[in-house]
Symmetry: C2
Subunit: 451 residues, 2 copies
């Protein structure tokens, strides 16, 4: 039942487009979901995509536009006249998608498009939605919802529902408001169907519905919907008036983005880039981190140069520099990843920093003893320098302990001062670990060699 995009499929499609075979193209597109068509567009050049686009019926065309990747969409909107964008797309899209599309355009294009929208209510909704920041509840919400007054009966409701329902794809809840438009609660369609038509809404609705304020951040909205297993959540203004609703499918993207952002930060990528983004964009996201690493490397060089004489006498000390720095990095990243994920999915609980650190230290102790014993054994067998054998193992143990302390405390501290703790798992901390690790290693080495 699901569509699987293959190289062959694209090739066949490209041939059809090349031959300008409209009938066949329409037949192919008819079988597909707008999300699949959007996926196909990603693989076509702009002329091919345009040919297909003009064959789609209005609603499908609008749905496909909403599903397109941002850069594909921008590419596309550039070649279409504003009037076509307004009438063929924006007018038919859900208000939240329409606001997203228009929000990414220039002021001038925006006004041009808005002036061409026939449905004045839709235009008003879009202008309202454009006021909110993209990453707040207001920026996520849509205006399409069924609203009923608490004083109505189920029968009035059902009539209102058929009137309002036209514009709305799916209805999961009906929102109940008072005469001032203040949200009172929700009413499920199931409840409405199962109640007598003369029942008063105020007697059957579910009061105390979960809701969020328009200015709430999208990550908080995602967390609430995830925690309480909500399919949709109403959005209210500062005095409780119902402003819109957010559905779970919009929030799924937020949840994925949030989880991915942590991973990207940990990998030293500071913007949301994808494999097929431009080199300029990728460089901008990646080079700054590399420069931090570079500065760290130069600091490391300075640290080692202080011990130049030791190395001149005992070059074998240099052999284990990569081992020490790599292990410090690995342990630090492990420790901080666990904290970062705990913060992200709220599983950290109430445990105090101190007891968390103690537990982390016990783990580090086990890992440190194991690893430094192995290296001790290795050096006992293959090295004839007792000082080296002791230095490397003692330094490795200390580095593992220190890295786990850093790895635990840095993300917790960043979180406390409201900086994204995922930064702590990135090159920044790895670099810091390198330098501290070297300091420890070379100091211990100098001490033992000096004995």
């Amino acid at each position: 039942m699901q569509f699987e995009l293959t190289r062959e499929y694209i090739d066949i499609l490209k041939t059809i487009i090349e031959n300008k075979n409209e009938a066949e193209a329409i037949a192919l597109m008819k079988e597909l979901h707008p999300a699949d068509i959007a996926e196909i567009y990603d693989e076509l050049n702009i002329e091919e995509a345009k040919f297909l686009y003009l064959l789609l019926d209005g609603d499908t065309a609008a749905d496909v536009l909403a599903e397109l990747e941002d850069d594909d969409r921008d590419r596309f909107l550039k070649i279409l006249p504003l009037e076509v964008i307004a009438k063929k797309f924006i007018d038919r899209m859900d208000s939240d998608d329409a606001a997203d599309v228009i929000g990414s355009l220039s002021e001038e294009q925006r006004e041009g498009i808005l002036s061409h929208i026939d449905d004045i209510e839709q235009a008003g909704d879009i202008v309202d939605l454009l006021h909110y920041d993209e990453d707040t509840a207001g920026g996520l919400m849509a205006k399409e919802m069924v609203i009923v007054n608490e004083n109505w009966t189920v029968l009035t409701c059902l009539r209102e529902l058929s009137r309002q329902a036209e514009d709305i794809d799916e209805i999961y809840y009906v929102y109940v408001v008072d005469d001032d438009g203040v949200l009172k609660g929700t009413l499920s369609l199931k409840k409405m169907i199962l109640s007598s038509t003369s029942a008063k809404i105020s007697n059957i609705y579910q009061p105390d519905a979960m809701s969020v304020r328009t200015e709430e951040s999208d990550e908080v909205v995602a967390r609430i919907m995830e925690k309480y297993d909500l399919i949709a959540i109403p959005v209210v203004d500062s005095i409780g008036r119902l402003m819109g609703r957010i559905t779970i499918d919009d929030v799924v993207d937020v949840i994925r983005d949030e989880a991915e952002k942590d991973y990207q930060l940990a990998s030293g990528i500071s913007e949301d880039v994808e494999s097929n983004d431009s080199i300029w964009l990728q460089t901008r996201a990646r080079l700054p981190w590399l420069l931090i690493g570079l500065m760290g490397g130069i600091c490391s060089a300075l640290v080692i140069s202080v011990h130049e004489n030791d190395l001149g006498i005992n070059p074998a000390m240099a052999f284990f520099i990569p081992l020490i720095t790599a292990m410090g990095g690995n342990v630090g990243v492990q420790s901080s990843a666990i904290i970062v994920q705990g913060i992200a999915n709220k599983s950290l609980g109430m445990e105090s920093t101190f007891s968390r650190l103690m537990r982390e230290l016990m783990g580090a102790f086990v890992n440190g003893i194991t690893c430094s014993s192995i290296v001790f054994l290795y050096n006992s067998l293959f090295s004839d320098s007792y000082a080296l054998t002791i230095s490397v193992s003692a330094a490795l143990f200390s580095v593992i302990i220190f890295a786990s302390i850093f790895g635990t405390l840095i993300p917790l501290s960043l979180h406390k001062i409201k900086i994204d703790p995922a930064l702590a798992t990135g090159p920044f901390v790895t670099t810091l670990n390198d330098i501290v690790g070297l300091l420890i290693y070379l100091s211990i080495g100098a001490y033992f060699y000096g004995l």
Copy 2:
């Protein structure tokens, strides 16, 4: 409106529990959502939790049990008699949650509980669900759904709905089947409300509903629901008979877990551990990766020891070892993280490996030139060895290029042979990068010093 768990709240609650103040405890719990109560339980000891638990009414108790973390739940089930578990919880839970709970128990406990369930239909559903692997569509699905026959009228449907609806919290779709139970399509409640009561279902339902097979993996289910913005998806067996349905809230967990797993693997953590897991569990998840890093460190030591004489003559060569290995690691992790995320969120598209590699190389070229120029400048100013200045910059450039090739090709290759590509961003590749980086650096160094 949302509940925020604070240290103070827990302290107040603990005092109430200590004083065995049942009335106050009941009043506090009444205001909370089961998900909030589950969060509170996480902070209490088992005796305190038990005290609260026995005060909850049946449905709330069952909901709380479903929301509890796995280890909290296991701890809890251990102290309750099987009959209480069966009657107070399992009987009142949705079939998917009930199967999850029972699935985590021993064979013996399972049979004991099943024999105590009064509702034979619920017991049958649970036994059916236990057959499926946890990470398949069958393992995710629940049996609670409203099923109607295509030959019925809307009126029959509404009657059936009120009969079936009792057991089901929320209804988003009604599933339409033929006389053999084969899924024909879906019918939204909205459509049902808006149609005449004498309309035949076969004329108004939506055919060709998206569905998944019971054996489909949970990650594929998540991807389909996410792509097509589905709130619920029906699950069918190999001949198309309707077996159950999966709702988006169960899939949100899969999406989050999947994104987190990549991050954990990249951080060198091989099992799903959390900050408050036992030291033994954490060590098991982390030590193997550290040992890989340790082996890599020993290999690095061997590589450097081959150049012992060079280092004896030019100890300054050792200064830049951490810089070279760190930069190789950083670049490799960046490149592979982009590929791994592209694979995970299907944004890679159809681009060939070759053209992807070319683009990555161009980016590496820009980053490589920038970084090695900076180091060149630094060494020109602060080092009096021309050979060192050239060696470090040339090696850094080469290492950046090689690391980006590795970082791109290794995850793509792993993915091709069906190994999780996220492994490639972990310590494994960082370690490999260290060794190759050192080989390049020391070879180039030996060459230039030899000039």
